[in-house]
């Protein structure tokens, strides 16, 4: 049994938003808000998500409010599904507020061909994908990088893969930040982190990471769907992974380093995992540089996997299928952003940036509709494509949910249904799963997650993002 949060004073502001006032606990600096309908609010309160959100609201330099998305659940330090913005001048940056899988994120590829073209090759395609995209336990992928090459990826992200012909200019144009964060500092990434990551480019990792072959079930916004190349019945590919061991080590290194800074700065926190440093301090800047470098590694990782997926489609389905990148979004990141007159360090931990049509960082192709927002469900349930809104800038620092969000512990999920039963149930629905053992399948079973349709309904109704298309899985390569 997971432990529930304390009960805090709260007010429902509307059907999708609950506020916990800054007076609810005496160390809160700002109010906290949770985007949730009544059902999800009840679900979110069953673990320590709200305690963790209230803890975030105590951090120095936080702008009001601290936020949780409708997919929020208990994490460590910050809740997963949390968004917190800190003033660049007197606020902090927190490695735990980004998480260990720096720039874990999602990208969507549109094939432009109906699923009927791909379906006859599905088993062979999944086999080829599992051969070309290493997943789960096992050291390394097909790209082992020497130190200089790795430093190049850390500094230049996807641009470094352009030189190796593993990316195209169109890919970079449709990746958040062009797939290369300019503040990256590869010198701030430890030798240990580089050692962990040097042969992991192009690998999925474990847990909830995946490559999914999906079918566009419904297009809900035809103009946006057309701009993205999404037609009902078409085959698309969704990729979910991050910065692998390199990013994990960067976070590990800097949580440790921040511990010392907090003593010096006399910052007292309700949870040690919230370890942070003033953004403008040398340590804060050094972490920011290392985090950006790890984020570049993650962008490049998803790009290397994209290259492998294209090769697999070419080998199995044929050369006529061109997998065009619709968009690539991060959901574990701290970014320096301008919001009105304010410079803010926006931490999104298990939350997606959702900029609207008027934002200058929205790619030209989507300038009339907003940045694509990709919301994966769990294997066996739907995923969604949405677009960001200008209202999200005011309501959520331009942020949206990142998935369905776990509702059940891994232990409870294993107890609820054996992995073999999960596999059979998915097979009965025509969903082919490869790459995962029964234990992993049980832990990632659809019922372990919240109802993604309900979660997406909340962000749509709250005007954080607008629905464009609903996707359903056909083939799953699990990490």
């Amino acid at each position: 049994m997971t432990k529930a949060s304390r009960t805090y004073a709260s007010t429902r502001l509307d059907h999708q938003l609950v506020e916990i006032p800054a007076s609810a606990r005496n160390d809160m600096r700002v109010a906290a808000r949770v985007f949730a309908d009544d059902y999800l609010w009840d679900q979110i309160r069953r673990d320590r998500t709200i305690d963790q959100l209230v803890n975030v609201a105590t951090l120095p330099g936080i702008e009001t409010p601290a936020l949780a998305m409708p997919d929020a659940h208990e994490g460590y330090g910050f809740p997963v599904g949390g968004v917190a913005a800190f003033r660049a001048g007197d606020g902090v940056i927190s490695p735990g507020g980004v998480g260990y899988d720096i720039n874990c994120g999602v990208r969507l590829l549109a094939s432009g061909v109906p699923m009927t073209v791909v379906r006859p090759h599905l088993a062979a395609l999944m086999h080829e994908l599992s051969r070309r995209v290493p997943s789960g336990a096992g050291r390394g992928g097909h790209l082992s990088l020497e130190r200089d090459a790795l430093d190049g990826v850390l500094a230049r992200g996807c641009r470094a893969l352009l030189d190796r012909e593993l990316a195209t200019p169109d890919d970079l144009a449709h990746t958040e930040a062009g797939g290369a964060l300019p503040d990256a500092n590869s010198d701030a990434v430890s030798d240990r982190a580089k050692h962990r990551g040097h042969d992991q480019l192009g690998t999925l990792g474990s847990g909830n990471h995946f490559v999914e072959i999906q079918q566009v079930e419904t297009v809900l916004d035809s103009a946006a769907g057309t701009a993205m190349g999404l037609r009902e019945g078409d085959c698309v590919v969704l990729v979910h992974t991050g910065s692998r061991g390199l990013g994990h080590q960067v976070c590990t290194d800097y949580v440790r380093a921040m511990d010392a800074v907090m003593r010096r700065e006399a910052i007292h926190l309700p949870d040690r995992e919230l370890a942070c440093a003033p953004f403008r301090s040398p340590e804060g800047q050094r972490y920011f540089g290392a985090m950006c470098a790890a984020a570049n590694f993650a962008f490049a990782n998803r790009q290397a996997i994209t290259h492998a997926i294209r090769a697999a489609f070419g080998a199995v389905v044929g050369g006529d299928v061109t997998l065009r990148l619709v968009y690539d979004v991060a959901h574990n990141m701290a970014k320096l952003e301008t919001h009105g007159a304010r410079q803010l360090v926006v931490h999104r931990k298990g939350a997606t940036r959702a900029f609207g049509p008027s934002h200058p960082e929205t790619p030209a192709r989507y300038r009339t509709m907003g940045q694509p927002v990709l919301i994966p469900g769990s294997m066996g349930t739907a995923s969604y494509v949405l677009v960001g809104t200008d209202e999200a800038l005011d309501r959520s620092f331009g942020s949206c949910c990142h998935g369905a969000g776990r509702a059940m512990s891994r232990h409870a999920a294993r107890a609820a249904q054996p992995g073999q039963a999960v596999r059979q149930s998915l097979a009965n629905r025509g969903i082919l799963v490869t790459g995962a053992g029964n234990r992993e399948l049980a832990e990632e079973a659809p019922q372990a997650y919240k109802d993604v349709d309900r979660v997406v309904d909340v962000v749509h109704a709250a005007r954080l993002a607008r629905k464009v298309a609903r996707l359903v899985p056909v083939g799953v390569l699990k990490g």
Binding site: T2, Y76, Y100, S206, R263, A275, R406, A407
Partner: protein, 148 residues
């Protein structure tokens, strides 16, 4: 899952307890030193459950692990992160562990370990979330959350 090591008057033991998204490890032992040794054994079991271990052809590979940190709680987390690093980069995980010395900011352990069949990738890191090392009625206790 529950397991125990034969040390002290109360057997050191560990449990993996429910957490919505991550993995929580609860440790109990007679002394903080034994708690660290039990943490090694627990981490070893965790990664070997993911990857499997190569059957030993002789004695387990033994190594001395020395970790220094700012205090006893951070020391435990840093020790676990050292073992996660060794598992991922050297495909090695503890099978048995013995504390040679322990101070709140420094621990030395003699650890015999197994070669893993593959590098594990499930455990990303041990975190400081909610961490406390305290003396309770059952001995020394700690709970560590792993990011998985």
């Amino acid at each position: 899952m529950r397991a125990s090591g034969v040390v002290g008057t109360v057997p050191a033991r560990h449990d993996f307890v429910a957490h919505t998204a991550e993995l929580a490890l609860r440790l109990t032992a007679d002394t903080p030193a034994e708690l660290c040794a039990e943490a090694c054994r627990a981490l070893g079991l965790l990664v070997m459950a993911e990857t499997g271990a190569v059957p030993p052809t002789g004695a387990d590979l033994e190594r001395t692990i020395l970790v220094e940190s700012v205090d006893a709680e951070a020391l435990l987390v840093d020790l676990l992160n050292e073992l996660i690093y060794l598992a991922e980069t050297e495909c090695w995980a503890p099978r048995t562990a013995r504390a040679v010395s322990w101070q709140p900011d420094r621990v030395v352990l003699q650890v015999a370990g197994a070669r893993l069949r593959a590098a594990p990738s499930r455990i990303k890191s041990a975190t400081h979330h909610g961490l406390a090392l305290r003396a309770g009625p059952q001995g020394w206790e700690a709970e560590v959350i792993f990011d998985v």
